[in-house]
Symmetry: C2
Subunit: 222 residues, 2 copies
Amino acid sequence: METLSTAEENYLKAIFKICESEDKPASTNAIAHELTMTPAAVSDMLKRLSSKELVHYKRHRGVTLTDSGEQLATALIRKHRLWEVFLCDVLDFSWDEVHEIAEQLEHIQSDQLIKRLDAFLGQPKFDPHGDPIPDADGKFAKRKQLQLVALEVGEVGVVVGVLEHSAAFLQYLDKMQLGLGVQVEVLEVYEFDNSMRIALENLQELTISSKVSENLLVQKQA
Amino acid sequence: METLSTAEENYLKAIFKICESEDKPASTNAIAHELTMTPAAVSDMLKRLSSKELVHYKRHRGVTLTDSGEQLATALIRKHRLWEVFLCDVLDFSWDEVHEIAEQLEHIQSDQLIKRLDAFLGQPKFDPHGDPIPDADGKFAKRKQLQLVALEVGEVGVVVGVLEHSAAFLQYLDKMQLGLGVQVEVLEVYEFDNSMRIALENLQELTISSKVSENLLVQKQA
DNA sequence: TAATATTTTTAAGTTAACTTAAAAATATTT
DNA sequence: AAATATTTTTAAGTTAACTTAAAAATATTA
């Protein structure tokens, strides 16, 4: 199989992401939105990807990835997340700075490079945002996690990930000292707007909006 | 200034390389040969680069880089060579494996990334092949080096670089234990074919062709 | 279910970066 | 300097990956 263009790779990633989160075929519009392109461009590309057997595509029915398409998509995610670990752990970038750079690095073509990078980093299983890094066979680590918003008053959880990856959100979390690994206890929930009062392990208390508690993933503590 | 395409960047590097080694404007043919493309494609691109003021170009007269073109070219060389150091020193690649990968990595756009990579690597001044790494201002380290072929019988030198970068040559050097830093003494020169008998610091003796001694750079020892 | 709205596709056009083939400019040789 | 060879440019065509605009298919709503 010849090697894919950066554009083709980006489509595979977008389709994977959409199919995963919505659990159904990706629509032309959704892909166009994800990649900030016109639906016409997407239609165009879907034909090409289909002829390369990377997607299952029937006009007007949306697309899903074929096995080989999915393999390529997860390999890209693996590369992206490994590079993010490198940027944070080795080059000392903060978690809100690494996405755009990893977006470029993920397209570097060299199996050896990824194999060695992975070994050098100690085969990390999660990236700096807590997202799982698929292994060389494309398998994602599973974790029993839930949104912070799902915790009841009195329950305790440890932050393990985020659902929103914007720099603004990540910087907000930094400011609030709500990074990965931090333990939080739910003190109170105000049903008016579903905002939440929580206590951090450093005894600090703070109030967060539902937008925040919905986008924070925690592991419930016994 | 908007960011350049990979193609444009490759032209700048090619022009820099040719102008540097021949010390005169780069011809269309030479560029085409360097990039394995047709002269027509080069003519085409030279117009674009010229309109962006990256090259001085007058039809039929060859091209040279403008100041800003040269700055971009040396920045690319800097990136390429820093990545080569990373690949060899950190990820344990051998010096004959790194060129193609660095060829991709050099196009990653992020000043911060290079700044941090450079710091992480300890601001190296030479890449794994002994080529100087320009500093952030584009200045190359100078070194009083000469071709091994220029040494007289009885003289001693330390290998500091290569003029030929093919994997075949580099692997040959590995096999002969003629890597960077190795001290060699010229024992005898056979004027018939200019081949050379040399002694390594490990007392091993070997005979090398003029092709080899011409492509090895040494620093003469007192 | 007919009318309307939305989504998707097709059609036609653009741009970057190539190609081949022909024309034009420059160099070399006699 | 004329004839020939070489180099460079121009012209025309291709492909990937987009765009806008129009047409067609599917969904939604009254």
